[in-house]
Symmetry: C2
Amino acid sequence: MDTADPTVVERPDYSALLTELFRANEIDQFQLMMADLHPAEIAHFIEALHPHDRQRAWQLLADQRHGDVLVELSDPVRESLIERMGAEELSASTQGLEADDMADLVGDLPQSRAQQLLGSLAQQDRQRLENILSYEEDTAGGLMNPDLLTIRADITLEVVVRYLRQRGSMPTGTDQLAVVNRENVFRGVLYVTDLLTLPVETLVGEVMDSDGVVQILDTTPDREVAKLFTDRDLISAPVVDSNNRLLGRITIDDVVDVMREDADESFLGMAGVQKDEDMFAPVLRSARRRNIWLGVNLVTAFAASFVIGLFDRALEELVALAILMPIVASMGGNAGNQTLALIIRGIALEQINRHNARSLLRKELRVGLINGIVWASVVSLLSTLWFGNPGLGAVIGAAMIINMMLAAAAGFLVPMTLKRLNIDPAIASTVLLTSITDIMGFFVFLGLATLYLI
Amino acid sequence: MDTADPTVVERPDYSALLTELFRANEIDQFQLMMADLHPAEIAHFIEALHPHDRQRAWQLLADQRHGDVLVELSDPVRESLIERMGAEELSASTQGLEADDMADLVGDLPQSRAQQLLGSLAQQDRQRLENILSYEEDTAGGLMNPDLLTIRADITLEVVVRYLRQRGSMPTGTDQLAVVNRENVFRGVLYVTDLLTLPVETLVGEVMDSDGVVQILDTTPDREVAKLFTDRDLISAPVVDSNNRLLGRITIDDVVDVMREDADESFLGMAGVQKDEDMFAPVLRSARRRNIWLGVNLVTAFAASFVIGLFDRALEELVALAILMPIVASMGGNAGNQTLALIIRGIALEQINRHNARSLLRKELRVGLINGIVWASVVSLLSTLWFGNPGLGAVIGAAMIINMMLAAAAGFLVPMTLKRLNIDPAIASTVLLTSITDIMGFFVFLGLATLYLI
């Protein structure tokens, strides 16, 4: 293995290649290629298969890799594969998984299967796992791995190095050793690089980092953990309980996963899709899962229709109103969405506080006013030319300016209010916002028209 | 420093605290607190300030921290601060920055200032910097840091350790040393943890990882780099040219920044906002930057109005059509956006290929059909009750089913087509999709009504 000369190749699209081998039934080649890939890559490939092909690909994958790939799969795909695995098969394939990965897996299993799996573990492993499982999945405690090396402050670097050589290995991704006292109270960390560069006779206590180090409380939400890692360029960080006792460590690879899921959730949430939706889920399940927001949207759409219905006389007299009214609603929705996205991002970055909220709102209202005036002029002119009715042009112009300012206000207030109600603004804001801009757009435009044109 | 006993505190909201100290003019306290924060945290705080306060906060920040904070600031805020810095001040504050951070900074400066800054560097540093700057910012070459330790394969671990102790330090975040031959051709990597756990008399060549290691080609796009790091849980990776010569390394902290920017761009892009928009940018600048999508949206809104205008006779005869038509458009837009978000994510994860594209489209059409039937029944019933017109109920039901299937098709085809045209689907898809669902919704509904009701 180690003598092979690495050569530079453009990374081929492994997913397409694998799929071709799989479909052509070139089993040997297929298995050779799978052996070269990392678990996450195999997981991507399996997720991109049609459900009835996944089972076969899964069986072609070497048994000893099942565990690592399970960890990387998205929840619905993982569940569908585990459903068909026997108890022994599952317990065999999850042996050797890191404790935090194992906890992730067990946490998503149905109660009975989780008990089965826990029962198959050695006493000590089971206790460690149950300890992690006692935390919410989205906290530092749920993310942490209890595998870590601890040392005392009163020994020299030489002793540490001798101990490590005797041990013969370190947990993957170890960039620091935790320094604890006799009661397992966290004192600081010793960087692995310092072990290699500083004089061997130095005491750990003299060179450990205790002041600048971030120890993370076990109950810290995972988003907060991700923020700490990004802001401070961490590779790993110790996790402690409220008595500062060391519990485990969080590593950057798990944090990267949190970030990716979070971004996914916001992105899909803005469009009214739940995270973890399997692209190839059965049609009925997908249809059902997406119905929540379609239902909410229908209620708001009927509310808008109801508002339009208030002005049926005006619409009967002047059909141009029906023709033009979607423009007012649509431009308001678009402008409001721009404000909305900025505010949601500002909330996520914790950049909006009571000192600047007011001036932000004022700014967005001004942007709404200016862009309202700009586009209202265009629309006003075009409408006047189209229908030869300057009054209509004036009314639609005024309605657009008002609606774009309302949209700016809604784009600010909707996410701020959801945030205060502890609802994730990324999930529910868009539908709420567009219903406001639709309803207000129709109301203002048809209302002004009734007052001045009819 | 090192004797302080670390204590566990809930992390206070530093941003709010800092803002209060700043506004209360408690300069000493403010500066003490800033000294404790990391550059990214100070950058977040400054970005959340109103522009006229940023300059003052900047001056209160210790000079030697200016460089690190500049690196973390978003482009528009950074530019506004640099504008006011003298050439010497800028060159002093950027001394000691890592080469990749420096390249980021210089790459965004106006030509003349970049030249000034480059001119102030020592010959060797300038050359290294110009080398990075010769790459596109969004490639592995633009991300890499040329600072790395290299060793030869034919020495023992003991020699390596002795060399490191003499050197006395390693670049931050070093988890592996690159092994190269005399011609600087990359041969493999030696993990720092192996240095500490394996017998000292071992030869580097015997234990280096050459087969399983990912060396990244300098021209690889940064998204691809991020994918590799996430899929393979990397902490750092060597960058090579097409002759496999070692150029530098990429570290996870820079990759995390790429991921964050990417997620930001998609999220804001879906709402028609350009990334890097400064929340507190001057009103006029913000207004102008947002006008592109408002303009596009206006064109499509007028197109929808034009379609409605084709059916003015029908609208005059049956005002209920005007009242109900937004429902058809809105439900189509909502359903289409759900498909759209899933497909955009699938494209980003490279999970859509020519083998599964067809069955994905088929699935989305079926979901559209089922949810179309579900919600069309509801709308059909309510419309019939509202207007006492079963024919109208039938027409709106049929129109909704057709439009929701069209929406599913558009949600699939719009991003796939943009992708083929090399346009980022996350940026332009939403506006295109909703214009299609609006136009088709109005056309189908009013068209069917004209055929069967008028």
